[in-house]
């Protein structure tokens, strides 16, 4: 295991800051409307190419919509989808993980079986069929992703809970007659928070890629929304004549996910030394696999061929 640099990854921080600013201030930053285009100005190349127009630095798409403006608005979709999906999945997973780890016994056995099954499902396939059958919509995409994401939280939080439970302060609280709910709330949960923060960050990239994939396949965020995956799909048929339609949104996605992943790694090293033993190898096998006890295969499966 190579020693990691402990410095804050400034590049990642910068990209993320830019992303958040873009998402929050999209209406003020974007020079044009993300959904309305001028057909007269369709397929204008980026500014540095012949025929480029300074009004559209990254060119326009086949409906004359400004690519830059769409990317800026698209950051909002990526951000909101990942925040909401991770919020829902994180809450559900944390609750189940806490209960499972603290109660132990049969509750634990049943919940962890469920978690194992959840982790073993072929994510993309299930997501595709779920969204397709239930009409692609913003809400459905978020729900499906959350549904596929909670086991990752549950598994990790349960492991943490098991470790924290062994501490004396928990035993003392039990002796003092505190209820299980009180102990979980006051003693266990606060100790799980750093780990939660790390897993959540490590999942953001995964969620953005998953949403992008679904949108690209036409079973995600519905058009004419400026989702990055949709934009890439839009440009698919025009690679030869208007490559900028697909290139730039993909670049935005790559940069974002890269930045989030680097930030997640850094956070993990800083906040949660215990997770570090997972090491680069397992992390490589699957960005999502942060649990030390998982078999590596599942991580590969979750990632290979998928985003």
């Amino acid at each position: 295991m190579s020693p990691r640099r402990r410095r804050l990854p400034w590049f990642a921080g910068l990209v993320l800051a830019a992303l958040v600013v873009a998402a929050v201030f999209a209406p003020y930053l974007a020079p044009h409307s993300p959904t309305e285009g001028d057909l007269i100005k369709k397929s204008i190349p980026p500014i540095w190419m012949e025929g480029g127009n300074p009004e559209h630095p990254l060119g326009t798409d086949r409906f004359g919509r400004d690519v830059l403006s769409r990317i800026i608005w698209g950051s909002r979709i990526s951000l909101v989808v990942s925040l909401v999906a991770i919020g829902v999945a994180g809450t559900l997973g944390t609750l189940l993980g806490l209960v499972s780890g603290y109660r132990g016994g049969r509750t634990d056995a049943v919940l962890m079986r469920l978690t194992d099954i959840g982790l073993s499902l072929p994510t993309i396939l299930i997501a595709v069929v779920m969204v397709a059958v239930s009409e692609p919509s913003f809400r459905n995409v978020v729900l499906v992703i959350a549904l596929l994401l909670w086991p990752r939280f549950a598994r990790q939080v349960r492991g943490e809970t098991l470790a924290i439970k062994e501490h004396d302060f928990v035993a003392l609280a039990v002796v003092a007659g505190r209820s299980s709910a009180w102990i979980i709330r006051r003693h266990i949960f606060p100790n799980v928070v750093p780990t939660l923060l790390v897993i959540s960050t490590l999942q953001v990239g995964y969620v953005i890629l998953l949403e992008g994939t679904l949108s690209f396949l036409g079973v995600g965020v519905p058009p004419p929304n400026p989702a990055w995956g949709l934009m890439i799909a839009d440009g698919r048929g025009f690679l030869a004549t208007a490559w900028w339609m697909s290139l730039f949104p993909g670049l935005a996605m790559l940069l974002t996910v890269l930045a989030v992943n680097l930030m997640g790694d850094w956070l993990r090293d800083h906040l949660d030394p215990r997770l570090r033993q997972v090491g680069p190898q397992v992390e490589l096998l699957g960005p999502a696999v942060t649990q030390p006890e998982s078999t590596p295969a599942r991580g590969i499966a979750a990632a290979s061929g998928e985003p």
Partner: protein, 307 residues
């Protein structure tokens, strides 16, 4: 070992059952299938006959039981569009998917093993760093975008490789690389760490002490011992490729199972969608099972953790 084996196999069956149930519930949610089958001016009587014929008049648990039994024996019904048995469609498309997965696996070994070996020998060198970048990018790059950019560069700009469709060997290069990119990175890391471990062993030191040529030490004594887990692992990865084929097949217009699923979503041919998802999921879960078992065989520690 035996109890681990049985437990893991049992879990795979459970997972499959969950997938089947999800698909069943979704199809029932998506509305009454008879409206998809009958045209608008069908009479009340037609509807009743069809309902009875399809068993839709029976109570839901019974329908579910029948559905599971049918799936278990491989009976998926008929396609709504072509009226042919769904299994025929599946069998038509399966070879293309298998072919692509097979070549992708081969390519990832071809890229991953030499690079990984080189990274291990020249640890910390330029190529080791480059390999690390390659691996980190693999985690952050949307597969579909990578595919499109490869098409843009090799198909459109250079014009040396076909952009899509199934044909000769050349048609396979881009989709196989796209599908195998992530895995090559995984294999690279695996080879690297296996090789590092082997190179630190006593028999390598002894071989060097004996005065053997460094190349002989590396290739004959080193690689041979490091390669076994890598290759076995790579062969099993092949099955998992099948699960992630949807995206790559769509990008490259590859006439495989994944694309069949998406096409059928567009035409609302739900029996085909269901069967495709179930077949791919089954392959994927079986592949995972094999990889896990192989790992527990190679690494006895996993067995203890799981029991």
């Amino acid at each position: 070992m035996a109890s681990y084996l049985v437990g893991r196999a049992f879990q795979t069956v459970l997972s499959m059952l969950v997938v089947v149930s999800i698909v069943f519930v979704l199809t029932r949610l998506s509305g009454n299938p008879i409206y998809l089958l009958l045209d608008v001016n069908a009479t009340q009587r037609d509807q009743e006959i069809l309902t009875r014929h399809l068993g839709l008049d029976k109570p839901l648990p019974v329908q579910y039981g029948i559905y599971v039994m049918n799936v278990a024996v491989g009976d998926f019904g008929n396609s709504i569009i072509s009226r042919r048995p769904v299994t025929e469609h599946i069998w038509e498309r399966l070879p293309a998917t298998v072919e692509l997965g097979f070549v992708a696996m081969f390519l990832s070994v071809l890229i991953g093993v030499p690079l990984g070996m080189y990274s291990a020998v020249r640890r910390g060198g330029v190529l080791d760093t480059a390999a690390r970048v390659f691996a980190v990018l693999g985690q952050s790059m949307p597969t579909f975008w990578l595919g499109l950019m490869l098409i843009l560069f090799f198909g459109v700009v250079l014009g040396v490789l076909p952009a899509g469709g199934r044909g000769g060997l050349l048609h396979l290069v881009l989709p196989a690389f796209t599908l195998g990119y992530f895995t090559s990175a995984a294999i690279l890391r695996l080879t690297r760490s296996a090789m590092l471990e082997v190179l630190g062993s006593d028999y390598i030191k002894f071989a060097r002490l004996k005065g053997l040529h460094e190349q002989v030490v590396l290739w004959k004594h080193g690689l041979r011992n490091a390669l076994l887990p890598v290759v076995t692992f790579a062969v099993l990865l092949f099955v998992q490729f099948l699960g992630g084929a949807v995206v790559t097949e769509t990008v490259f217009a590859w006439p495989g199972l994944g694309r069949l699923i998406l096409e059928s979503i567009t035409t609302r041919d739900y029996p085909v969608v269901q069967a495709g998802v179930l077949v791919l999921s089954a392959l994927y879960l079986t592949g995972n099972l094999c990889v896990d078992l192989l790992y527990s065989y190679l690494n006895p520690r996993i067995r203890h953790v799981s029991s």
